[in-house]
């Protein structure tokens, strides 16, 4: 859906002479990224409003985007599967944020987040065959992922002790979701490597 839309928009710009043929590929890629980011941000806002936790949803989305972009992880094979999985994971995450407002399970959340931090620390960054990383990039993105992980973890610890729930739960959920995606991505890669060997 988004890919078709970005291709159509690019071709429209090309036919009007706003861009050159050389820029076509760049525009399709760039527009895909732009529309996707806007779409999922809007989705997070809508579900945030529906679940009555608008600010927490935005904090979750921003924190998740930061760690996700550098740590990487699981990617769906098709765009449709991505749209379904992304929407479901946003709903599930905002659902947990909503539940944390009703029930007090902060200590459990903190413990699961601790496990997630360890997983992210060792598994990041996990690239994809569509965008493989060079050795230099791998080292660079690992460092950035660790810095972001440290920043989010510090926010979680401070907000836990000072009871800033508006920051605590969204940051925890973003790290938990990222660790799940990293583990899923790692399993997928090992499985693919085994299939190639056989």
């Amino acid at each position: 859906m988004i890919n078709n839309l970005s291709t159509r928009l690019t071709d429209k710009l090309l036919s009007k002479g706003s861009i050159t043929e050389d820029e076509r590929e760049l525009y399709i890629y760039g527009l895909f990224m732009l529309i996707s980011q806007l779409m999922y941000l809007v989705l997070a806002c809508i579900f945030g409003l529906l679940f009555e936790c608008f600010f927490e949803s935005i904090i979750f989305y921003v924190a998740f985007q930061f760690i996700r972009r550098y740590a990487g992880g699981y990617h769906a094979t098709t765009e449709t599967r991505c749209e379904i999985l992304s929407t479901l994971s946003i709903i599930a995450s905002i659902g947990i944020i909503k539940l944390s407002k009703i029930y007090d399970f902060k200590t459990i959340l903190l413990f699961i987040t601790l496990v997630s931090v360890v997983l992210i620390f060792f598994l990041c960054p996990l690239d994809t065959p569509e965008k493989p990383l060079s050795e230099k990039e791998f080292k660079y993105f690992r460092k950035i992922s660790w810095i972001i992980l440290l920043v989010i973890s510090s926010i979680i610890i401070v907000s836990y002790f000072f009871k800033f729930n508006i920051l605590f739960t969204p940051c925890c959920v973003s790290l938990i979701l990222e660790s799940i995606l990293l583990v899923a991505g790692k399993i997928k890669r090992v499985h693919q490597e085994k299939s190639v060997k056989n």
């Binding site: 890629y29 990224m33 999922y40 740590a71 965008k131 990039e137």
Partner: protein, 49 residues
Amino acid sequence: MKKTCFNNALNSCVKAITKSCINSTTSGFMFQPKTPASLKKFSKVENDK
């Protein structure tokens, strides 16, 4: 005039987002489109001497 402004804004937006995406491990969502080889010119790490 309006169209030129819109095109310029879109152009800047697309270039900025492409640069930012090429300088990250993956996209922020669960689908990573194949990255065009020509975009490697935007990679800070690769072009850093």
